[in-house]
Point group: D2
Chain length 278, copies 4
């Protein structure tokens, strides 16, 4: 199943959807050889989109981060974040209402950009004024205090709860991980007995968004696109369900030693596997 090198595979497609963390970059910076691969694809005229479940930063901030790592050609409009999907929901369905959020002040920009008012969960004074709740980031708030406030708010208010990131864990440094927004949200779903609205892969919304966006200028079919990701349960499942070819890279969440057992265990099967995009 292992195909080498990635570039030979990628050149058979007209567009590549990249996951960000574990594929293009990791805690050490750019993935070795990644910048060269992206530039080679540019030269060949292959279209690129980055689909990321990171909702803590705007696409502009993420492009800036890529630039600092050497990926100078990745533009903000080529980046689709799960936060954008949540923002669209707020714009369409909460329309100017008050959104109590868990996250950093920076992450709250998804709320204000949607034309809604943002209030940190710690500063909510009247539960009855809140029109929606948003899990934006695992940082920027005191877990014990603010998660308990959220539970009490949800016991008396049946408002929509948005989770801007479906991931349960994310890698930090030195091989360590941290509980992500999606993990905290799962706990509250369990304790309050509710279903929240999760945005991000494996849901196919971001794929639809990227696909429609590409087709504004070009005319691509699904068979022209390859999704490249390091996580079976998000990148590969989402790509499979959307109906495009999928390629697992072993430079992130899924390791060379374990990937075959993992594929067998969860039953999510990528079309291709490569060690990295180098």
């Amino acid at each position: 199943m292992l195909h080498l090198p990635f570039l030979n595979l990628a050149r058979q497609f007209r567009a590549i959807f990249f996951d960000s963390y574990g594929v293009l970059r990791d805690s050490g910076g750019a993935i070795a050889g990644g910048v060269e691969t992206v530039e080679a694809l540019r030269t060949d005229g292959v279209l690129i989109r980055v689909l990321t479940n990171d909702a803590s930063r705007s696409r502009g901030q993420q492009a800036e981060k890529f630039r600092s790592l050497g990926y100078t050609s990745i533009r903000p409009d080529e980046i689709i974040t799960s936060g954008m999907m949540a923002r669209q929901f707020l714009q369409d369905k909460v329309a100017g209402g008050l959104v109590a959020y868990l996250g950093t002040a920076a992450s709250a920009r998804y709320i204000t950009d949607a034309g809604c008012s943002a209030v940190a969960m710690s500063e909510v004074t009247d539960f009855t004024k809140v029109d929606a709740v948003a899990f934006l980031d695992d940082e920027g708030f005191e877990w014990a205090r603010d998660l308990n406030t959220t539970v009490n708010l949800l016991r008396i208010r049946s408002v929509p709860v948005l989770v801007a990131n479906t991931d349960k864990l994310y890698p930090t440094r030195y091989g360590r991980v941290a509980v992500a927004t999606g993990g905290l949200a799962k706990m509250l779903e369990e304790v309050v007995g509710r279903r929240f609205l999760h945005f991000g892969k494996p849901d196919t919304q971001m794929f639809h968004h990227a696909f429609e966006d590409l087709n504004l200028q070009d005319s691509l079919a699904k068979r022209d696109i390859l999704m490249v990701g390091d996580t079976l349960g998000t990148d590969i499942l989402g790509g499979n369900k959307f109906g495009i070819r999928t390629c697992l890279v072993l430079s992130g969440n899924t390791s060379l030693l374990e990937y075959q057992a993992e594929i067998q265990r969860v039953g999510i099967v990528p079309d291709f596997v490569v060690e990295s995009i180098a």
Copy 2:
């Protein structure tokens, strides 16, 4: 929250997405007043699509059924079924392979229409030849024999498993229900420890499909569309997530006596509630 009558509400939109069972029809035939409502919408030029998790019959067969109930204006191309989403996946990703299915012979048409070969689970002779498994219908096969065969097949083959209907239960007659395809699939997911690919609401795929289809001829925004359904966890959740207005009807799965407690309990909030589409 209760808005009466439905037609006054519906006329504020340019397009209506209807769920089928519990909204347009039930075990007794057409919902009282439903045919008149649909005709009034036609006269006003409101566009109509039917989004159904029923994958046991083709859109042609479903249009035929609607016709027999008096809904003479509903065309096959206005009906989007979860089976169509599954068929698209088979076409894109299984491409001519062999699909072992659980369901009636009629339901297997989704497989052959996708250009794949279909074999009933009871007639699989060589597990290693199977490229995908599809749960299409809860009828047409012997549960004990064929579900056990499926478990054994999945223990040695890591192939994609499609579930053409996310519903766990469906209404039969005299207020009774039956376990649906989605319920059987859930059991096997639990016993084999795998995640299957579920097609149908609340996933937003069918909404994307209907939306894109409408925009081939017209130019509609999401705010122009109303989703009408009887089930919070599929119709309303899906519509909310896709970003369109949602209307719960109390003529099917959710009753007048319980809907407020149910909304509070699960946290899925429709924009409107009406007793029926009459």
Copy 3:
């Protein structure tokens, strides 16, 4: 199903197992009439045990608390806590090892009383030295920091993880609730994909312990005992499974307005229902 008054019912049994919070006391102090009921049972020679999922305090501290509320006759040896079940496990299976805990310094006494060494999760310096992990209390530690440390510890160490309290939420003041130890543990089980060892009702261990303890001096059969609790999923399920009669009180987690719908919904059926033990 409603039986009044409680005392007439209770006198038909030789022993009563009481849950603590919501039955004997709540945030306002002793349940109205509770002290008188307990005294009446003492006069009649009815045996009493308190079975509580509160593992944050020892049975001595809990007896002291009861005394301060007017329950002067409840002795430490009549109180069985889920923490005691966890302590027994540590004694039998971890035997002198190092236990990293999440909770207050006071709650760590369950560890040291079991002959093990206790270290707060925030002070663990070497993951490889840890022989077990214990969730003891939701207070006394910084959630974000210490839960993330726990996740990382469990990724490299396959040691037993004890949860000294199966409850997901507990009532605080003014009708509010807080996430309990069991809720935090559930989140980590979800994100690390492991099963922890949960102690407390509805598991029947505490019932066995109380039953054996009573039979050291008396000779009781299961039909001689009544379990009295305010929560269907712990007190009533546990009592039912252990095989004794169960009585739901409506002075705590389950309200008069909702109890019938709740019993129907979850399918856990008490033998009796009373408003309170008054």
Copy 4:
């Protein structure tokens, strides 16, 4: 972690609790060397109990089966089945009521032995007369027809539902498996939204029963007992939670190739591991 041979380990204990399938026997008959090991333990005066989640046959029938395989010394009173736990519940809590069952006619003896009336689910004529439902065996009934009847019965009756076997799968022949009673029950719990009463390991009830039974004649402490099983999630988890030493054998559900990864993944740690009891 691998200890060889088993007998040297077992002789350090005063009593051994054996799981049956995968430990003492499998589809091919007695485990190679198993009969000799049991006889050697008898000679040494080591006490033996068999703890099995097989509720389809009585302890008498199971002893008869063991005898036919060469285990001539295993007596009916040394066998504890999950069905016995369910029978005790029926006796204590359903007391002469009508129990609708799913299973073979033979399995219904657990109901009649408890002094209750048994009716096959397919022959229930009046839902309102049913006092309890029991899942006894995966054979002896038509799944589609009788599981659907059960769903409809449970929608209108909030009676206790007993599951006499927590296993989801059981091995048949030629390396194949079949969905067990516990798997069918899980599906119905999911579709009707209820919690059933599951009897069998990992619940500690059977361990308590065996322990109390041994102590009627002898005086054993928990440290004197070793649980031997082939399944981490039932035998080993149950033994760990009950507080006795546990030994995983690799002759059944858990293989030599996978056991270390499996222990790491699920976090259930046996004290010892041996290839088989030979």
